[in-house]
């Protein structure tokens, strides 16, 4: 009897050990709290045009459609190739370890002559050639309509798995929240996992002490949620957890978390704007920048400040 007991115990320990090994962080450095997209590299083609890193990606629509690459210094050069304008106005973007820029078209002021379903796609800017091409059209739970022409609204890249998280609100309407978060393998273009019934705008990835988390800005409220991720990237559970409300912060407004970024020194930077599933446009948009700081004690986020950002 004792022998059997010892055998079971040994098998149990071995099993736990194997599970932990398989779910270990892929990189020892990544085991510490921190952002998961810091491996993003500058696209190589930009150097051929005389651009000097570090570079910034600009999709503010200030001077028309497409995106721009800017040198991250005052008076820095700006690069925009003609090919980058062909898909109209662009919104979210993410940069991967190879310098590929993923982005998505958005409706701006009007649909630009496109059908509503056009905006549920991802574009890829090749780091070698600098060409922007159609990369993937996402499925939609319901047909897009003029009442909600939005498609892809948020992108976040995970260095540890070389995968992309994509928020799409395609198919949602006033009475039905049909938005989805897709987890996509960048090598195979396969949709690995999917989270349903959540309309998200900004996405951001951070490793907390307790594990990886995907942060989601809710498109229907000023709230930010998060959901735990397995090391392989799959979602833990089906329902994101409420984290905080931008409107409830001192100086906060009834904003939607449009972009969520993390810095190496433990800051969460949330860009808040007004988003109502309309094409309401404003020059000099009222953006608020919310700053939170990671607190290792408690493994949580603490609000620091919000500033109004006028352009």
């Amino acid at each position: 009897m004792a022998r059997w007991f010892v055998l079971i115990l040994v098998l149990l320990i071995a099993g736990v050990g194997l599970w932990k090994y398989r779910h270990r962080p892929p990189n020892g450095e990544m085991a510490h709290p921190g952002p998961l997209d810091l491996c993003g590299a500058n696209p190589a083609f930009a150097l051929k045009y005389g651009m000097h890193p570090p570079l910034l990606i600009d999709t503010r629509q200030n001077d028309g459609p497409g995106l721009r690459l800017m040198e991250a210094r005052k008076g820095g050069r700006v690069l925009q190739l003609d090919n980058w304008k062909q898909f109209g106005y662009l919104g979210p973007y993410a940069l991967d370890k190879d310098g590929v820029i993923y982005t998505a078209p958005i409706p701006f002021v009007n649909l630009g002559g496109h059908e509503p379903g056009y905006f549920n796609r991802i574009l890829r800017l090749d780091p070698a050639s600098g060409q922007l091409e159609d990369w993937m059209t996402l499925p939609s739970p319901a047909p897009a309509t003029e009442d909600n022409a939005y498609g892809v609204t948020g992108l976040a890249y995970d260095c540890t798995t070389h995968t992309l998280y994509v928020a799409s609100v395609a198919g949602s309407d006033a009475n039905h929240e049909r938005g989805r978060i897709y987890h996509i393998d960048l090598k195979t273009k396969r949709i690995l996992h999917r989270l349903d019934h959540f309309d998200a705008l900004g996405l951001g990835l951070y490793r907390m002490r307790a594990g990886k988390r995907l942060y989601l800005g809710h498109a229907r409220s000023p709230e930010v949620f998060s959901i735990g991720l397995k090391e392989s990237g799959g979602f833990r559970g089906r329902k994101p957890k409420f984290e905080f409300s931008l409107a409830a912060f001192r100086d906060g407004s009834y904003d939607n978390a449009h972009r969520i970024r993390f810095t190496r020194d433990g800051r969460m930077i949330v860009k808040g704007i007004e988003f109502n599933f309309s094409l309401m446009a404003a020059s000099d948009p009222q953006r608020n920048i919310y700053l939170l700081r990671y607190r290792a004690e408690g493994d949580k986020w603490e609000f620091v400040d919000v500033q109004s950002q006028q352009e």
Binding site: A149, A174, F242, S278, L279, A281, A282, P285, S308
Partner: protein
Amino acid sequence: MRRQLAWYAFLLVGAISACKGPERPVGSFPEAVLFRRGQLAAPDSIAARVALRERIQKVLQKDPPVLSLSRDDAAHPALVFAQDIALASDRVRRLCHRRKTGEAVLCAVTDVRPARPAELRKANLRGDYALVEIYNYYYNSLIKAFVDRARRSLADVKTYPGAQPAMRRDFARIARAIAYAHPRVREVWDGLGGSDVLVRVSKCERSRHLCYAVVVTPRKGDRSLWVLVDMTELDVIGYRLMPRWDPQRPQIVTERSLQNAVVGATCDQIQTDSLGDWVIHYRLTKSDGIELLDVRYQGRKVLRSAKILDWHVSYPDRKDFGYSDAMGCPVFSAAAVVAFELPEITPIVRDGQQVGYRFVQDYRSPVWPKGCNYRYQNLFEFYNDGSFRIAGVNLGLGCSNNGWYRPVFRIEPALHGRTRVEVWNGSGWRPKGREFWHLQDKGTAYSRESALFRMTGEDGNGFLIVPDRGQLTPGGRGDHAYSYFVRAHADRDEGRSNQPTFGPCCNTTYEQGPERFIADGESLDGGVVFWYVPQMKNSDRPGAEYCWVRSYVKDGYEAFHTYPGTVGPLFVPFQNGH
């Protein structure tokens, strides 16, 4: 003895219940209500409000024009000295004056307290400082003056646009009084029964005013009443019933959330109003503005549908630069310029007589009137004599003073049977049997009734269509419109349904969109749809502004003087061919 005690207890309970007043179920009140801005919804008899207005007027004559904080209302009375130091400085004084003109603008000290470590870090200061927080009403910004407590001198001044000030206790008392004084708010407030009242700072993101929320939470029940008070205009904006406060998941009411909740709920919902002899049905469409439907005069249908699909905006000095702006719902729509408020209906009075009703629905870009932001209106006028006007209003600002605006109207009059369309040719009415377009220009002739077109039904009843040549609106500059007459096809949409966008932004010719429905040789034999595209050029020339807006200082805060451009035809009915 026991029986007596029981009786007294019974009376006591009864008395308490009576004192609470009748409780109307919270569910019987509308969930969210907006009140009309700029009109004194709350009576002017609130003493504290009157006193504050008087104090503001006095302060605006002083330099600096600042409402100081009293010792009684200061959270740190020992630091109130810092207020005097800050207000004596030139730097603070300059910040309470308008940059362009030097006019005094209203400021208010909202807090005097020890500066926080994070604030000192941001300001690059070390040491012991008092912070004097001053709200600038005109720029909606927060001034932070750092005063060295030991040296009793001003160290630095920083400005934070859009930042919220701390709540002043005296302002909180005034906000509560203003909220409760509004009859509709009081009805809901009292209907909640015994309750706790809290005032907190809120945000007015669109008006960029100082706003407080008065939160009334009943001791029993799962709802709270949030009343939003504009502390710049000292008026109630509206209220919303919210779930009871949950600190684990706080839900806040701001101006933006309240407006979206109220206006968003009316999207695509058909409303009906009776205006004298008129009955109008209308709805706020997703992206075609207000659509009038089934309009009747003295019981007879006169209009099937009327709407503005788009505003084409172009800037000739910038090639291919322009927009096709759709007006409409603030949520879930393809509208670029959206409704923040409900429509307003007012009487039209001329020479002391009411001659009709005016219906206005307003649409704005969120930060109008900043550059490249727009404000438009649907304007409908219904006159006692049966005539009506379908108009659009442009209130600027746009991207430059060289903007051209071309709103696209679709109007479907209700005439009996086949419609005869005629054009005035200078000497008489010339019938037009086929679909056509027409340009109103300098050479256009008008009938003695100022009409350009005539539409007549089979029963001899119809309308004269009178374009604007400046006579329909004070300061009007005429329509200069392209008109299109197209046969109505029951089996074709041709603009009937909501259009997210319609036609190119920047053509200067008749190719504005409706021409696509004109088929060569197609007869107008049947019902007719009338498309109308006026053309307006804006102007910022002083004294001759048009489709423009200017800021000015009103009681110390920023207000706007608009120079509307109004276009659109008048329909004058006739019967039996006369």
